[in-house]
């Protein structure tokens, strides 16, 4: 095991974490401000990826596709909020889970209806093709570095938005007391729609960026949705800072686990058995991490309202 391999794996972990952060940030904002569990967040991720793939194929420009993914996901999110979600704020979490689960099915089958069952093609833009050399003689894909940078910028932007702007102030106020902020004359309905659209746009951005690396197909959002929930539970529900730390933690632990565990298990048993056993433990690792963190801090690392 060399330094360069460990460095590469660390970068991989951070990149996965950044992706998860984009998903988790929207999820945690929506939960924090509106108290709503949105299972359909993964569908917005899918909408972003499909919008990017379709627009990129039609215009030949990934960047236009990326812009379209933000616009489409935000629009889909806003529409979803106005038509369905708005009716759920007063209901209990079971109703919300049922309704947003139904939305997953509607989005999935609707997308299949329009685009068919075969995966779409979306390639990395010319500008970000290829790999760049790293210290230690190895190389790292430029596109993954770009994802890390984008995620970092979004994290800074979100923090500034929430701590420094009037909108952010209202979001924070909405988190702590939604009746009071409505009584003070803030249009809470518009605020909710705005927050929902913002969270959706972030999911769409994540979908578009990952779509270029993975396969753009129906149902692509659900696996990452589960991870995003793990992230916000670890980070503390409702906290952007928690989402960032939680996402990086999950990303690095998952990547390092997949890489190191089979080798550690290999010290105790033959290599033919070590592969499957190590792989199986690695896929449980983040859930073990979540259990451990919840045992020590039941409300997550950085709970929004202490």
């Amino acid at each position: 095991m060399t330094f360069s391999l460990v460095l590469e794996q660390l970068l991989n972990g951070v990149q996965l974490g950044v992706m998860l952060f984009l998903m988790a940030a929207g999820l945690t904002l929506i939960f924090g401000v509106m108290g709503l569990i949105n299972l359909a967040h993964g569908s917005l991720y899918m909408v972003g990826a499909f919008a990017c793939a379709v627009v990129a194929a039609a215009t030949g420009s990934f960047w236009l596709g990326l812009a379209a993914s933000l616009a489409f996901a935000a629009a889909a999110g806003a529409l979803m909020e106005v038509v369905v979600i708005r009716r759920l704020y007063g209901r209990d979490h079971l109703d919300q889970v049922l309704a947003t689960f139904a939305l997953i099915l509607i989005f999935s089958e609707g997308t299949r209806w329009v685009f068919g069952s075969f995966p779409l093609y979306l390639d990395i833009p010319q500008l970000l093709q290829g790999a760049v050399p790293l210290p230690g003689g190895t190389a790292y894909p430029l596109y993954r570095l770009a994802i890390i940078v984008t995620g970092g910028l979004v994290a800074i932007g979100l923090t500034l938005l929430i701590s420094r702007t009037r909108l952010g102030m209202r979001i924070r106020a909405g988190e702590s007391d939604r009746e009071m902020i409505a009584a003070l004359g803030v249009d809470i309905r518009t605020l909710y729609t705005l927050v929902f659209a913002l969270g959706s746009a972030l999911a769409g951005l994540a979908g578009a960026m990952v779509g270029a690396l993975q396969s753009v197909q129906v149902g692509m959002g659900e696996p990452i949705l589960i991870l995003a929930f793990v992230v916000i539970v670890i980070g503390g529900i409702g906290s952007i800072k928690g989402a960032l730390i939680g996402a990086l933690l999950v990303g690095v632990v998952d990547t390092m686990g997949r890489f190191l565990l089979p080798q550690i298990v290999g010290l105790f048993m033959s290599s033919a058995q070590a592969g499957p056993v190590g792989g199986a433990i690695a896929s449980m690792l983040i859930y073990l991490l979540m259990a451990a963190i919840l045992a020590i801090k039941p409300r997550g690392l950085f709970p929004a309202q202490a």
Partner: protein, 378 residues
Amino acid sequence: MKAILKAATMALALGSSTLAMAEPIKVGLITTLSGGGAGLGVDTRDGFMLAIKQSGNKDITVVTEDDAQKPELAVQIADKMIQSDNVDILTGIVWSNLLMAVVPGAVAQGKLYISTNAAPAALAGEKCDPLYFNAAYQNDNLHEAMGEYANKVYKKMFIMAPNYPAGKDSLTGFKRYYKGELAKEVYTQVGQTDYAAEIAQIRASGADGVFVFLPGGMGISFMKQYAQSGVKIPVIGPGFSFSQDVLPAIGDAALGVKASGQWSKDLDNEANKKFVAGFQKEYNRLPSLYALQAYDAAQLILSASSKASIKDVKAFAAALNKADIQSPRGKFKFNNNRHPIQDIYVTEVVKENGTLTNKIVEKVFTDHGDAYAKDCKK
């Protein structure tokens, strides 16, 4: 008197033969038409229906249902088809875990099952059944072919598959024939979408070849990420990882990849031309391996229906077993465990008129059966 007798015998003979011909057959096609694996099911259905349509046979009716890639749903549909739709033959399941849930019950109720894809080892050996046929291959076959091919080209292989039964069978099949050195054997999560951690290990492994079995979306993700990683070690895999249904989504990243298959659209025979041209005309896309396998399953049923009555299941099974069809893959016959004995080729992904597709490079196995047939005593 003589003339009347002659006429009567003629009429009887004619009557009985048309009776055997006109026996209606009901086929239950259970396949995956929704969810991430729907592309495979759509090709299965379309390939099957193409053969029926080309034959002009009006006696075969097909009932199609979507299993959503869920074993419990597949079992429910199979029960419904057997009990209330009164189907005679079941077919169409893509996935081994669904097949394992459906086949034992179906054959126990005296129904024929003809697999269009899934071929788990468990049903090829000791637990084979006289009513269970496989028109595709045995699951290990295409992996074995790549193992044999790797012997010639590579010295040190990095091998990788998802951590589930078919994934383990895959690497077992590969190692059954591959005699060189193994750099590393890695099992990934089923449905995994990010392979950065595995690609980093490939980079550091010092291997001169990489064998991956990653069907569907997993393969698309891996190949796109691998192309960006700057790692130049050649990738090989079983045909279904680089089948026609996933190639457009992988894009140019798949160019040059070697894979194994018992069929390719450029095989030069009349049946294949009829199949490929017919499929393109009907559905306006190129057929995949899954479409071919379903096409042959339908051909088997058509051929047996002209030889035996479905009312006599044993005789019908015997007629199926003759495999009197013109398969687009060329030679085709059944082994003693009713799995195919066939040639297996290595193909390469190339670009033809702007479309990515597979092209045959060489033949690896001639008349290849499977490792489990010897245990099948039924």
